[in-house]
């Protein structure tokens, strides 16, 4: 009989190995799934993981990994700060939308003025928008003790309505023949986040790398980072250490909101180009998976963001080359989180073979 026995201390080895095991298990069971669907499993897995990186058209897909991965990493870094402290911001998708709206709004207000300061102001606007949206659950939690999970999640749907209203009203392209959607910021040089479209580099990619570095320093070298970790791991000890829990809530929610808002701004000023009804594609939710897959560690998140981007892009190739249905790819991505959580048990527990005697 197999028994689970709690480890006296979480296993360091398993903590590092979990993501790898989860990825391998996903490949294996994903392959089985594809086989049941009548596809060659080896070819499917190869298409998803190998094709975007080293395939014939990798010169096109590698930059796309940056485009797809940057917002995920940027948002996940922000979320990880809160998750570490046990503060659950589930509404990054909403903060992403509002950040994009405010940032794009700033840019569109200047149109067609070409000046160096337009883009920096948009960046500030984007960060502010996301921050302000996250302040709603933060202040409600601090002031009235509401649950930040519910409030932040519900605000996503409010933000979506806001987005629809903006695409159809205030920000609608006056030259767009009455169709919804704003002007395309890619046609407005001063409001553009692209550095080089050929290499997939835009300021959001730069920001994602900077966020990784800052978050690493914050968590490992800074008192505030220590407080964040302490609050999550030992709330009572944190209290004795003089951590002000309310201030911490405001800080981490504000920070994750600002980063999500930035991600939205860089997206709308770059890859997406315009505010439209379907501007948000779920980065804010996928980033939750990325944060956990990366073990809430900045470098881990960077790697996890890359991996997630890979499954997206490889998944699209598999769809069109092998005729895999979109839902099979989504199941595949879901498996990743499932196996991660399942294998995670081994970090805190060990398997024990017992003779089947019950004491």
């Amino acid at each position: 009989m197999i028994m689970l026995e709690k480890r006296p201390q979480p296993s360091r080895v398993w903590s590092m190995a979990t993501p790898l095991v989860a990825v391998l298990a996903t490949m294996f069971f994903g392959g089985l799934l594809f086989m049941v669907l009548g596809k060659n499993p080896v070819e499917a897995i190869k298409t998803i993981f190998y094709e975007p990186l080293f395939g014939e058209f990798a010169f096109y897909y590698r930059p796309q990994l940056l485009v797809k991965g940057a917002p995920l990493v940027l948002i996940a870094i922000g979320l990880s700060l809160g998750f570490k402290a046990g503060i659950w911001n589930i509404g990054a998708e909403g903060q992403y939308i509002v950040g994009a709206l405010v940032g794009a709004g700033v840019g569109l207000a200047f149109y067609p003025l070409e000046a160096w300061y337009v883009f920096p102001l948009m960046v500030i606007g984007g960060a502010f928008g996301g921050w302000a949206w996250a302040m709603i659950p933060a202040l409600l939690k601090v002031r009235f003790g509401t649950n930040e999970i519910l409030v932040s999640l519900m605000l996503v749907y409010v933000a979506e309505q806001f987005l629809a209203s903006m695409s159809l009203g205030l920000m609608k392209n006056p030259d767009g023949f009455g169709f919804p959607g704003s002007r395309n910021l890619n046609d407005y040089a001063s409001a553009n986040s692209w550095i080089s479209q050929d290499t997939g580099m835009h300021w959001g990619v730069v920001a994602a790398f900077i966020a990784v570095i800052f978050s690493y320093i914050l968590l490992n070298r800074h008192m505030l980072g220590f407080h964040i970790r302490l609050t999550g791991e030992a709330p009572r000890a944190a209290k004795f250490a003089g951590v002000n829990p309310k201030r911490l809530v405001v800080f981490v929610l504000g920070m994750s909101g600002a980063l999500a808002g930035l991600a939205g701004l860089f997206e709308v000023a770059g890859p997406s180009g315009q505010i439209s009804l379907n501007f948000n594609v779920g980065y804010g939710f996928t980033a939750i998976i990325v944060a956990f897959l990366g073990r809430l560690h900045p470098v881990g998140i960077l790697l996890a963001g890359g991996l997630m981007a890979l499954t997206y892009i490889g998944g699209e190739i598999a769809q069109s080359n092998l005729g895999l249905p979109a839902s099979a790819i989504q199941v595949f991505q879901g498996m990743l989180l499932f196996f991660l959580l399942a294998v995670d048990i081994l970090t805190n527990y060990r398997l024990r073979l017992s003779a089947g005697k019950v004491a």
């Binding site: 309505q161 009455g178 169709f179 050929d198 839902s327």
Partner: protein, 356 residues
């Protein structure tokens, strides 16, 4: 632009390689929803299968479903062009800018964008005059309603949808002056849960006929549950509800167009066109009108269909006023395509505002 050059030469090399190997023409389809939605995307996929059936081994079709409108769409199209597609159909309004962007990078690949308005040397646009079908739907709805309240589930307040509402309203009002429309916007093309909620809300407000401009069959399911409520198949026939609430349908029939355009690419005669066909050319079909509809109403609807098909009658024929009471079309005047394409106003009598 280094990448552009690289992309073009890669596509060119590939085109030559595949051309040398076999005479298969690759045709790609980009779908906004799942092929199993039973409505919009389902009909486009039927068109794709018709292309395969028509040309057999001479074509190879691929598709990607559930593509989000935005940067993801651009990547999917690029990927198709890179892997050698010669013709790519992008089947949702929101794919417009991505289609134009990708088309710039692949001048040798032909693109066909559904329901948009931007064309280029290698980008055609096509759409169907769904409002012609709405006129027939409105006639049946106006005759059938007992509560005189007709519910309408709108997807997005874009010209195509507004046109449909206006057309249905004008023709319902024509046969039943007491009719009122209740309009709910759900801001999605396909979301069974939201569509069900909207249908239930409309039924609670007294609607006994529900018209929908969304793609799932969930509205008909909700109507069936409520009983005594009728609806119409949207985009697809939805004939499985014919014993229940579905009394007729508007069917998008893309197959002839897809076959014609694929043939043009194979023959090398493809040119940029702006196609907007209706009942007359068979792009819009009217699904069988069931026995729930009295024979005289059915005959009236079919007569209207015939007169629209022959071009004898235009669904937007004056006198028609705008919602604010100002004159839009004078007596006997018909709407021009430009105004219809960008329609952003309700006609007189419809209550409520277009959300903005």
């Amino acid at each position: 632009m280094k990448l552009t050059k690289l992309l073009t030469s890669a596509a060119l090399a590939l085109g030559m390689a595949t051309g040398a190997m076999a005479d298969t023409t690759k045709v790609g389809f980009v779908y906004v929803g799942p092929v199993g939605d039973g409505g919009w995307t389902y009909e486009h996929d039927k068109g794709r299968l018709a292309v395969e059936a028509e040309f057999g081994d001479a074509v190879e079709t691929t598709y990607v479903e559930n593509v989000a409108e935005g940067p993801d769409a651009e990547r999917v199209m690029t990927q198709m062009a890179l892997s050698g597609a010669k013709l790519i159909f992008t089947t949702s309004f929101g794919f417009m800018d991505p289609t134009i962007n990708v088309a710039k990078k692949f001048p040798n690949v032909k693109f066909e964008h559904a329901t948009g308005y931007k064309t280029a040397d290698n980008v055609s646009v096509y759409s169907a005059r769904f409002y012609e079908g709405r006129a027939i739907q409105g006639t049946i709805a106006g005759r059938m309603t007992k509560s005189n309240v007709i519910g309408y589930i709108g997807s997005f307040p874009i010209p195509e949808v507004i046109r449909g509402i206006n057309s249905a309203y004008i023709h319902a009002k024509k046969v039943n002056p007491d009719v009122t429309f209740k309009i709910v916007w759900v801001y999605t093309w396909f979301d069974p849960a939201k569509e069900t909620d909207a249908a239930k809300a409309l039924i609670e407000q007294g609607a006994d006929v529900i018209l929908q401009h969304t793609d799932s069959t969930s509205v008909l399911t909700a109507a069936a549950e409520a009983g005594n409520v009728i609806g119409f198949g949207q985009a697809s026939d939805m004939a499985e509800y014919a014993d229940g609430p579905r009394v007729s349908s508007i069917i998008d029939n893309w197959a002839p167009y897809y076959i014609e355009r694929t043939r043009a690419v194979i023959d090398g005669t493809w040119e940029t066109v702006n196609t907007w066909d209706g009942i007359g050319r068979g792009m819009v079909g009217i699904g069988e009108i069931t026995d729930k509809v009295p024979a005289d109403v059915k005959a009236e609807a079919l007569a209207l269909k015939a007169s629209i098909a022959s071009g004898e009658y235009h669904p937007f024929t004056g006198p028609i006023n705008k919602q604010d009471g100002s004159v839009w079309l004078k007596d006997g005047e018909t709407a021009d395509d430009g105004t219809l394409a960008g329609m952003g106003f309700y006609v007189e009598g419809i209550e409520g505002d277009i959300p903005s």
